[in-house]
Symmetry: C2
Subunit: 171 residues, 2 copies
DNA sequence: ATCATAGAGTTAGAAATCCAAACTATTTTC
DNA sequence: GAAAATAGTTTGGATTTCTAACTCTATGAT
């Protein structure tokens, strides 16, 4: 029987099997997404850039640090990415009047339309790939994604600073 | 063809919902894996490099093209990566005696031990992160990964490639 | 009030990654 | 035997992302 103390000896199979297959499959899916994004000749966005635009669509006026944390990047890396998107007129970057240290990031009108188009393309082709799944299989994938999201989401309200999820934004 | 006639009025087909959450969660998990790999100060391998070593562990003597296809990289990119691993004495690269155009890639003894250690570390910390899951939740994740693997995996080793990954080569 | 300190973000410099184009070497085909 | 095809490498460049050092702004201690 499985000991529920610290799971040191038993439960090795299920947990480690899960870790092994996640480590095997997630990079494959990610690579397919990158390739598909690169194929989209309309918007020329990376997966990260599209995710950044989508985040700003959901959270207009976010500071840079929130975006960096959401993406799992350092502040300089995200600053560079944002500079590129500002130069492409997809993001408006202005100084917060309340606290002038903060930056306020918002999608421009062009950013909104590019986001809409790119998201439609990317998720559309992904959905097309997933068309072979039955509704039940889709539900399984969705449920698994929600589980993984709970564990890997950056702004997890519970234990955001365990050693495994120490973010690179601060060291 | 599309079978979403019943869902046209409602929000979103199950497929599209699945695509959206996959596009949201997979990059997060991937980024966490990258950060965790970078924290491992013993081996200094990227996710891709570890995956390449693992592939060669399972398929000794593979040619470069098989490795490139498995990783979803172009031949030049994978050639460069392999050169780095050869320079670090983790991979032995020799010319196939049967067909001298092919290269035969094998793990060195050092490569095997580095692979073992790195895989243990990477999947161990991943398993630790997944410890919050119950056995049932783990099973859901495993099942979903198997589903995604069926759709996104390149062709299986020692087998003909059907149509899996012609994406990275040409557009 | 003033100066020290901390926080948010940017810039600079370097390293890694990856691709397309061009190239070499080998095998197959005609 | 020449031409075409195949496997891989080299080259050159674009992108990404890090650390370290910097600027600017807010807070706080005295």
């Amino acid at each position: 029987m499985t000991t529920n103390q610290t799971n040191e000896i038993s439960n090795e199979s299920t947990n480690e099997q899960c870790a092994r297959i996640v480590f095997e499959v997630v990079p494959q899916v990610m690579q397919s997404m990158r390739i598909e994004m690169r194929r989209q000749r309309g918007s020329d966005l990376s997966v990260l850039q599209l995710r950044a635009l989508a985040y700003l669509g959901r959270n207009p006026g976010s500071p840079l640090s929130a975006l960096a944390e959401h993406a799992g990047l350092t502040l300089p890396s995200m600053s560079s990415q944002v500079s590129g998107l500002v130069a492409r007129s997809l993001i408006d970057r202005s100084i917060s009047p309340e606290d002038r240290r903060f930056v306020t990031l918002t999608l421009t009108e062009q950013g909104k339309s590019v986001l809409d188009a790119a998201r439609h393309n990317a998720q559309g082709s992904l959905a097309k790939t997933l068309e072979v799944f039955s509704a039940e299989e889709c539900a399984t994938v969705i449920e698994a994604m929600k589980l993984l999201e709970r564990v890997f989401a950056p702004s997890s309200p519970e234990h955001s600073q365990t050693e495994a999820s120490k973010q690179p934004a601060k060291a």
